[in-house]
Each structure stands twice: as structure tokens, then as C-alpha cells.
Symmetry: C2
Subunit: 305 residues, 2 copies
Amino acid sequence: MSDVEPALLAVDWGTSSVRAYWLGSDGEVIDSSEAALGIQKVTDGNFSGALSHICAHRRADLPVIACGMIGSRQGWVEAPYRDCPADFHAIAAALTPVPGTRVQIVPGLTCRDAGGVPDVMRGEETKIAGTLDDGAEATGVVLMPGTHTKWAVVSGGAVERFMSFMTGELYAVLREHSILGRLAVDSDARDEASFARGVRHSLRSDAAITHDVFSARTLALMDELAGEGVGNYLSGLLIGAELAAARTWLSQCRATAHPVTVLGDDALVSRYCAALKIAGIDNRIGPETAAARGLWRIARHAHLV
Amino acid sequence: MSDVEPALLAVDWGTSSVRAYWLGSDGEVIDSSEAALGIQKVTDGNFSGALSHICAHRRADLPVIACGMIGSRQGWVEAPYRDCPADFHAIAAALTPVPGTRVQIVPGLTCRDAGGVPDVMRGEETKIAGTLDDGAEATGVVLMPGTHTKWAVVSGGAVERFMSFMTGELYAVLREHSILGRLAVDSDARDEASFARGVRHSLRSDAAITHDVFSARTLALMDELAGEGVGNYLSGLLIGAELAAARTWLSQCRATAHPVTVLGDDALVSRYCAALKIAGIDNRIGPETAAARGLWRIARHAHLV
């Protein structure tokens, strides 16, 4: 632990893991810790105990702000979803306090598509807050790949609309539980050519992903795709299908003028940037510390610090 | 067992199960039996023993014709795929004998799409042979729903092109292994309204299935879809996505003038017919005994009987 006195404990608390940041009076990260104590692992509901375990030396009077699934129905205290468009003031004004503690939970966001079908995010709104400029004019597109990848359009400092894709989870269930996984040969090597082949196949005009995934099997069967390439090809197909749909959606949102800012772990960001390049979509890599920065900004808006 | 002397033993031998038919000299089904002895269950490779077990009283000199995964690399003897277009004469001319037996195995079919990507079927070619008229002018569209659903365009007695969709397997892996399954409440009741809602959602012009499946979660989360309806809604989404893509494909094949003949088990056929009706695609239900009829026709073409 640094000698600098922390001003805020900022916690990104998801389903499977939790990451805590001690932030100084300018929002700088003084220290951080990570644990596999996501809300699914806290089976006794003792989130206070889990937080003390993660942040052993925290001062009892230190304000705490948390985002992510910790605010879901299965979390500590439910922080109701806020409707889009939502700017960072609206998010900061809707923090949900945890009774008897100094913990405040950031609300998730919800939006509806043209047909009235809802979408939801929890935690990503905070990463967006930490990615774009702090001003009222913050505008852009943020892509957050993961189990449930999110695309968000930000305009005038507010999250206008967003769209989720089950790309990561689809890859995992097909790889682990379907016939496609049985043909795939495990390999740590990244196979750029097979990945790119999958992306391009999904970007063609008559692509149909529930048919196209079968080609991961037939190409392997015909010895036109090596077993070691099956996983990469499948990943390319699914990410390509996402890009094709997201591109249409961005066009409907009139948001194609902005480069896409990609946030996430290095391997996934690099994979998405390669796919975006194939699709001809301008992109840049966002800050690694987006969650910590976003929690700081929201805490400042809420006058917690 | 009937007193009529069988002329042919016809075996539909798949991955998980096998069904055998004793056919009389006019191709009529005299008797049949079914067992959970699909090729995956015959782990010792003793297919001859498995066949004797399934057909305990068969005469050693009775000709046997078999179709399905029994002809795959993991089956008894590999029956290489035949290229499309393939008429029933071509299929009958390409039977693969099992050495030392009177068993002949029907080849599977393969075709390539405009981009050269291969597709495969094994067993469905035989059901098609048993569905359409025996004449050289047999023409139509056959839909065989299942784990890997197949759509086939038949023209002038030949399978011209076909297209596979992983609809059944995608449903199974999402239902059993994804977050969507955790929200679904098990129910034996068929929920027509939730199913139709899913189909319609996937038929809209900007549908994107890897995004749309997430709505099975968000609608349940917002109490806009009952837990009991989640499975039916998801099934509707996936079948709807298949119909949307198949409709485009049929149009490319110039095959939209024909009603779609649907083959399969009652529950699945009824589900697909409901979806086809919503999509405005004319359809009819094919014969339940398509595999037995197809095996008979191919055996006749091959002069086995």
C-alpha cells in the first residue's frame, strides 16, 4: 500500500470476480486488488464480509462506490436500472446506498429498441463514463467485448442507446458442449488466418450465423480447416456476425462517423480490433482503467469525494 | 412378426438411435424395431453384433440396406459423400458394401454454396427419396428439422442443393448451458404465444440472432415474459432466424414456388409448421415412414430387391 491517503474505494464487482481500487484525491490509482469473489461466489449473502476480505485494510470511514452485478437482484442491494438516454449526472444522482454502510451502488442502464424490446447493462455504464471525455459534449461509440458484448452510442455526454450480443457465451457453449467443440483441437496458438476467414465469411451479404457455424464442422470434415483452426474460425464467425449487425445498428443510430473505442482485456481487444479492421470499421483501444476512472467520475458527480 | 416373408431389411442408423424395418416384396412395412444403439453407443466397433441384437430373427441371406451415420468415418464402413446434384439412380449406384455381409450403405451427400463452402447430410438423402414422387420429375422443397436441420431443393428427381442449420443443437446448448437456461422455468406445456412472439421477432428485417437471444433474458428480467415462456420464446427466435435465412436461400435457388414438405417427429413438425405459417410459407407434412420408403426405393434402384 502506498503512503498516499486514499479518498475513495472504487469496486468493480461482477458475477465471477471483483476488482477494488484505492483512489487518491485526484482520482489516481494508489493500489488495487482482485479476487474471485464475484456475486455468484458470495453464497451466504455476506457482501460486507466479502468486501472486508478483499480490502483488508480499508478505513471504516472511507467512502465506497461499486458498480456491476453487485447492484442486481442477486447482489447486495438492488440498484434499479435507469432509462436511456442517461448522462453521468443522472447516473450519479441515482446511486443506491447500502444501509448501515458507506457503500453506494451505481445503477445499471436499460434501453428499448424500435420494437420496444428491452436491453440491459450493469457495470458497462461506468466503463463508458471512464472512457469518454468528462465534458457534456462526450460523443462516440464504445465496444465492450465479453460474455455479453455491449455496443453503446454516447452523445452529448449521455448513453443514448446500446445493444448486447451473446457472442462470448455462444462461443463458450458451442466450443464446450456442441459437436463443433468435438472437432476442435485445443491449441493455445492464435490462428489469425482461420479467425479472419470466419470474420469474412460472416460479413458476406447472405451470411446466416445459425447455418454458418455448421461450416466449422464441414470444413474440418473435408480437411479444408485444421482441427487447431476450428476454435479460431468459430470465434471469427461469431464476432463477424456481431460486427455485421452492429454496423447496421450504428447506421440506424447515425453513429458511423465516430471511431469505435474498444475496452476489455488485451487478448479480446486485439481480436476485436483485428475483426473491425477486416470490416473496415475505424477503431481505437480505450483505457485499461476505464472502470476505476468511471467510478471516480461518478463519485465526483455524486459529491462522494 | 408377421407371416409375410420379408424381402429387405432397411435400417436407419443414426448417431444416438437405430430403427430397423422389415419390408415385404412391395416395400410394405411388415415389422420394425427401434433401439438406442446409435453409432456412438457401439463403442467396440462390433456393428454386426449390434445389428444381430436389433434384428434378432433376421435371415442371414436377407439383403440389408442402411443409411445415416453408420456410413460416416465413425460408423461401420465409410460411404463417401456424393456430390450434388444427385438423383436416386446416382445414390443407388454408389452404395458401399460391408465386406463379408449382405449389408449395403447409402452414401451421404455434399454440396457447396456460392462461396465454395461445403455442406453435408447423411440419412436425409434417403428420407427425401422416400418423400417425393419416384419419377424423374420429382421436384420440391423438403425440410427436415432436428439437431442439425436440413433444407433441400429437389428438381428433376435430384437433390440440387441443401442447407443445414444448427437450430436444434443451438437451442439445446443455450437451454442447458447458458444464462438463458437459468431464467427458464421448466414446463411441459407448449406456449404458442411465446413461441410465435419469438418467431415474429426473428422475422423482422433488422433481426440479428446473436443479439436477439439476449432478449429471452431481458424480457424475463423486466417481467415481460414468464419464466415458463422463456424456452418457447427462445425456440421461436431460433426457428424464426432459420426461416428468414432459408427464405432468402430458397429465393436464390428459385424454389419459392413449391410448398415446403416437413418431415420429422410430430412435436417438431407441428412447431415448424406453426412457424412456417407465421412466415407465410406454404407447407405440408410429409410421410412418417420416409426413411423406410426411401431405403426401399434406393434398394430397388440398386436391384437389391
